[in-house]
């Protein structure tokens, strides 16, 4: 049996060829080589408690799809696309089963939002508190969006990817991504404005 150390020095396409020849263990090289990349993508898009399961699913899907990998694109990019689509499928399933946890926002979150928007937040709170509030607010807003809008908002507005890159990752048309991006931004705007309005009403 071929050891994993034998495949460490060869490139991804060659490892894929060995897996396709029936050497299942060669896949471990790809897993070790790109495990961090997949874990990073999955942790950004999926709640931590489900991230391990989704990361495993990404590699299982990759393994099952190896026959369709033509070697024309870079393996890393192909794998990233599978990872992003698996995260998207996770959210589609979660929304279908209505398993999306909605973060409860408090007055503290609204205060934080107003401080940041008005430019008064600098050094008034501890960095970890501020990050927690930003995280909660972001999670709350994303939970109110459709899986499509959520993915596009994260990829374009958080990660700064271009429309073309997002279209390739998700396998959608650029026009669809543009429309989704516009809608997601508008929805986000509406949600945040609503929170600011609530704050003013309470005050």
């Amino acid at each position: 049996m071929e050891k994993q150390s034998d495949t460490l020095k060869i490139d991804d396409e060659e490892v894929v060829a060995r897996v396709l020849e029936g050497n299942v263990n060669a896949f471990e090289t790809l897993l070790h080589r790109h495990g961090d990349l997949v874990a990073r993508i999955v942790k950004r898009h999926v709640p931590l408690q489900d991230a391990e399961e989704v990361a495993q699913d990404v590699f299982v899907r990759t393994y099952e799809s190896l026959l369709s990998f033509k070697g024309k694109s870079v393996f890393r990019r192909w794998l990233s696309s599978i990872a992003v689509r698996t995260c998207y499928d996770y959210w589609r399933k979660a929304y279908r089963c209505r398993e999306v946890a909605l973060t409860q926002l408090t007055e503290r979150h609204r205060e934080w939002l107003e401080e940041v928007v008005s430019g008064e937040s600098e050094e008034t709170r501890r960095e970890s508190d501020a990050r927690k509030e930003a995280q909660d607010l972001l999670n709350w807003a994303l939970a109110k969006m459709s899986p499509e809008d959520r993915m596009v908002l994260e990829l374009i507005h958080m990660e700064g990817l271009s429309v073309k890159e997002v279209a390739e990752l998700l396998g959608w048309s650029p026009a669809n991504v543009k429309v989704r991006s516009f809608r997601a931004r508008k929805k986000m705007e509406k949600l945040l404005t609503g929170q600011m309005r609530d704050k003013r009403r309470v005050a």
């Binding site: 897996v19 396709l20 029936g22 050497n23 299942v24 263990n25 896949f27 471990e28 897993l31 070790h32 495990g35 874990a39 990073r40 999955v42 942790k43 950004r44 931590l48 991230a51 391990e52 990361a55 495993q56 590699f59 299982v60 393994y63 099952e64 190896l66 026959l67 939002l113 940041v116 928007v117 430019g119 937040s121 501020a130 990050r131 930003a134 995280q135 607010l137 972001l138 994260e154 507005h157 958080m158 990660e159 931004r185 986000m188 705007e189 945040l192 404005t193 600011m196």
Partner: protein, 108 residues
């Protein structure tokens, strides 16, 4: 023009920091080992051959096949109710005449 909250650079920066901070949490040490055992359980991938290519092609063409079958059924279906009615009358008339004739023969 109304100021847009989500366009606020300070807020976007905070959101981006919060978003990328998700990466820093650990997935645990064993997820890769568990993944590999799932892959080993699946076994080697089937060798690409004629039937595998045929199967994938058949699935890819399935929607086209469905459309063609529906089109075929539609073209074969008689969509002329007046003709159907005339056909029915003609058949009915024939059978009743025949039965009358046979009855007459029987009685005679």
């Amino acid at each position: 023009m109304k100021p847009r909250i989500f366009q606020n650079e300070a807020l976007r920066k905070r959101f981006r920091e919060a978003y990328f901070s998700r990466e820093k949490k650990s997935l645990g040490n064993h997820w890769q080992r568990r993944t590999m055992s799932r892959i080993r359980e699946m076994g080697p991938l089937p060798v690409s051959g004629f039937w595998l290519s045929f199967e994938s092609l058949a699935w890819r063409l399935a929607p086209v096949n469905v459309v063609l079958i529906l089109l075929f059924l539609l073209l074969n279906a008689t969509l002329a109710p007046d003709v159907d009615y005339l056909n029915f009358l003609a058949t009915d008339l024939e059978s009743s005449t025949l039965s009358e004739f046979l009855e007459m023969e029987g009685s005679g």
